[in-house]
Symmetry: D2
Amino acid sequence: MIDFSCDYNCGCAPEILAALTAANESQHATYGLDAISARAKEKIRAAVGNPDADVFFLVGGTQTNATVLSSILRPWEGVVSAASGHIAVHESGAVEATGHKVLPVEADACGRIEPETLRAYLRGFYADDTYPHMVQPGAVYLSHPTEYGGLYSAAALREIRATCDEYGLSLFVDGARLAYALASPETDVTLPLLGKVCDVFYIGGTKCGALLGEAVVFRRSQKHFFTAHKQRGALLAKGFLLGLQFDTLFSDDLYLRLGRQGTECALALREGLRAMGVAFRPESGSNQQFPVLSSEQLQKLDGKIGYEIWQRLADGSAVIRLCASWRTTREDVDAVLGALRV
Amino acid sequence: MIDFSCDYNCGCAPEILAALTAANESQHATYGLDAISARAKEKIRAAVGNPDADVFFLVGGTQTNATVLSSILRPWEGVVSAASGHIAVHESGAVEATGHKVLPVEADACGRIEPETLRAYLRGFYADDTYPHMVQPGAVYLSHPTEYGGLYSAAALREIRATCDEYGLSLFVDGARLAYALASPETDVTLPLLGKVCDVFYIGGTKCGALLGEAVVFRRSQKHFFTAHKQRGALLAKGFLLGLQFDTLFSDDLYLRLGRQGTECALALREGLRAMGVAFRPESGSNQQFPVLSSEQLQKLDGKIGYEIWQRLADGSAVIRLCASWRTTREDVDAVLGALRV
Amino acid sequence: MIDFSCDYNCGCAPEILAALTAANESQHATYGLDAISARAKEKIRAAVGNPDADVFFLVGGTQTNATVLSSILRPWEGVVSAASGHIAVHESGAVEATGHKVLPVEADACGRIEPETLRAYLRGFYADDTYPHMVQPGAVYLSHPTEYGGLYSAAALREIRATCDEYGLSLFVDGARLAYALASPETDVTLPLLGKVCDVFYIGGTKCGALLGEAVVFRRSQKHFFTAHKQRGALLAKGFLLGLQFDTLFSDDLYLRLGRQGTECALALREGLRAMGVAFRPESGSNQQFPVLSSEQLQKLDGKIGYEIWQRLADGSAVIRLCASWRTTREDVDAVLGALRV
Amino acid sequence: MIDFSCDYNCGCAPEILAALTAANESQHATYGLDAISARAKEKIRAAVGNPDADVFFLVGGTQTNATVLSSILRPWEGVVSAASGHIAVHESGAVEATGHKVLPVEADACGRIEPETLRAYLRGFYADDTYPHMVQPGAVYLSHPTEYGGLYSAAALREIRATCDEYGLSLFVDGARLAYALASPETDVTLPLLGKVCDVFYIGGTKCGALLGEAVVFRRSQKHFFTAHKQRGALLAKGFLLGLQFDTLFSDDLYLRLGRQGTECALALREGLRAMGVAFRPESGSNQQFPVLSSEQLQKLDGKIGYEIWQRLADGSAVIRLCASWRTTREDVDAVLGALRV
């Protein structure tokens, strides 16, 4: 069965496995203080275009979100997130477990916080005389791409940054699937732009070709984040395992190439489906596609193509998720389209 | 340089790398719900001799300690630990970050809580009329072996269990280096015994031949631990990576063999050093040895043998840590002894 | 100026001040272990009709909500609340600060969670396959009356209790203004009913004639709540101050009489305003009334009657809050109506 | 029975009761934003000699300690305290419940942290290469007087301040019994000195003549402490109740006079006991005295004098606590001495 169900259900890119194998017998300084991690950080600083960036390698997304947010918020502050955001829904209250409320705002159809929504929220918050009795907004959490494949534009991020500056908020971007966004022709957001507008963001490894790992990039030096992430159980004893993967991902543009593979396949799939008259809910320009298929169409896929039901609709049709990844091939795409054409 | 500095500064046992390589291309259910993890859990249940045991795979030790303890304690409870215990000293307050106090008691020279110490502590606690104003002891944390290589006997663990029962405490054993304890001729503690006396314990992978990973074994089913460890950022998206390592470790007695390698080398080293008149602080029956060496002896090792200074003494001598591991060979041991004999 | 702005902006009922004065010179056991507190608890157990009820006196509402909820929830659990509930909006994230998410559900116009809403929420929660990745609902929080004066019926509370039983949730009722609800002819909820359907509820003192204080009533003995509320800073050193107030409130039906004064005045006011054709948003059967007044009507009140603007409407009219209390008199009510009739 | 058992087991100074009675019928702005609280803050700022001081009124000591510390510490920081300090022993883990470890250091016999002890602790902490894996010291907690009546000198506080500056720590002084320290001839610490050396301290009301209440004094404006203390359940709805008490305490030197009454009685008692050859454990210059009495002496007190057993000694003698307060009279002191002389 050809798999479009998920982008984190197999191992890693061959280059990473090779690097892992090569390094397996050597000794490495522990807790991420090894030479390979140092080299990987240097490469990331170069890719981000900020020699002062402070880079840390963590293991997974929920861990990263809670660890970063708890390190930048003060106790009376919460984090503004799309109501559909990952931290608001699917992280088992990890942020709240560190004492901070997630402050939900309405997102657009593809899960983005529109700049005007954020501004209106903050204006409204401070217009309410009782605001000192409420959780103070201390940071904004975005994901790029969103959980629904939504992509921010550089202009939108700059506007959100300006609003954050106006109200004294930090900006944090969850880049669990960042490779696929960087590869999309439908957004002009780059690593240097993220490095500039975000106080902190992360470059996702787990879903973008690594075995596991997320590279957290702070705009400025973070004297105490080492202790902070140790405290949250996010410091890996064999830190070189993470550094090594990012060292590989940031060699020979591998990270961008893996992202391109996933996104190009997804967009080819979108084009093919559109040509068949299939609608999308929502539209996405990155590696996850959400076509609405009839029950007949779904039957045609069953047993051939792995996919995920996103939302069952009343008439037997459904929104499904077809998730391309760095491993997806054009043949896989053709297989989906072929199955539907039968 | 022959490395005795640390047991977590390289990759994994070749069997694990091979298994990882073999599984890299396949698809696996996510979040630890995959078939390999299921198989690994079955093997661990068998090894522990408890078909009802509930097994979870987490990434690292600090994460495991804080996640497990916060899931078994109530807000007004703390955890009794040796004052020198890892959670009390070297986890950056991970337990306190979940709201719970670590209640330190004096350990013996090799870091163990003596059964009588625990009993005296609890007796004293409840004898103080003001105890309702204090953190209530809710669990006991031990490590086996301890941070100083100390080993509990089965009798000591049974006694501690009885005291826990008497006072309504849970018993949690940190087995970050458990393989080396299981292999030691100087303790009769077995996996089935741990499965019986502990409410929960873990089988360390990171320091015992895996790339990363700790297998948490609860005596009884834990309906909500899935959510609990997701909340603490301890649920790995590609959970099969952990399951696969423990599946390998619990095939063909690999876990025990790796432990034996480390402990036998350490004991051979101890024997050789003792024969030279070297003293130990403390004595250890597992993979870490803490000889007291003179400055002349230290000079003989420098540049040849990797070790860690544990405590500098006034006369220029020092307690050092020589840490054998699953990778250490008899040749490595001979190299240390040979260097000192020169 | 006649004050309808608030029910907690002055001191206490004269009976309480007298009792306080009488007890001022005597010695009392500390931390609520005094004889007066014991007597007050006995009276509350009798009023609730549950000799096994465990009663604690805390200082204020936010403190009580966070302390009680954190003592009954497990780390992975959150509390279901109306989106407009006090814990969800106006407690500065006190519940989240203890690590628990507030799970908002839509309330009806007067702030109540309808039994069907709760059932639908829980059904939907468990129908979503991803629910183990979400905060688990562990308790339901209601206020009676609500922040908007809404009143539950006994039937509604029984239905909610049944749903809680079905899904294994605790039921907690915030009774900050309970006296006014108990006095309302528009609900059949009584103290014994609350004692029966709630796992825990509280009898508000601060807004109902006391200087300060809330009496928390648990259906069953709570061995560790003494320590739990000490830990949250909610144990008063001079606990007799709270016990004494509730002893007075539960003597000669004072609590009910104070509630009746507030609610009867509010309902007389409602009747008078209705007779003038005034609408309410929402309708309320307890001590807070929310009439919609035109700008002309507002001007007539200004300088004569203290009130609070609740919501400004586009045409210059506004929803205001007229808050009667145990101190309000029929003359005060007539003054409002008279001012509007001019 | 003449009571020396406790300084918080009765009501308040008559002046406070009178003020409370006088204000009972009036309306006051809520949440501490009332005119009386404003006036009280002004008086405290004047007494402290710092017009920029930010003053808040909280209800009790444990609440104040946890609320203040959690507002000044970052997640990875803990608070250095005497091992015998109130936050380390008798607050049910209130500080840990906010996520922060209490870092115990050895105190001298009367519970004080000696400046050199603090310096040595911090020097040692940073000399240990593994310190990034440990909780970072972020603040120092002292009590003046200590739980054992110990008094700091101005020189000691200045030295501790200098050490805090050197290592970047905040200094917080718990003044639950501050009135008695300010009145002692055995220390030169004044309110202006505390205002100068502390980042934050509090002026205890509960044990010094008020019904309840502690005045927290920050050296600099705290924009978010209103929200922070609301979040911890420490914001009183009827805040004027606290403001009014401190307004009274800081009128006509009442606070100092009440303190003087307690301390002078205690010192007279000490003198009388010393003249009888009684020893003290420890020596105290404030309102609590800790004489060692033989079993015969204890029998002479029994039934006549209320006291507290502090520590039973092997020979039947005991260290007891005789606690004078603002209510104690010279006649009470004579009664103790007379009983022993019989």
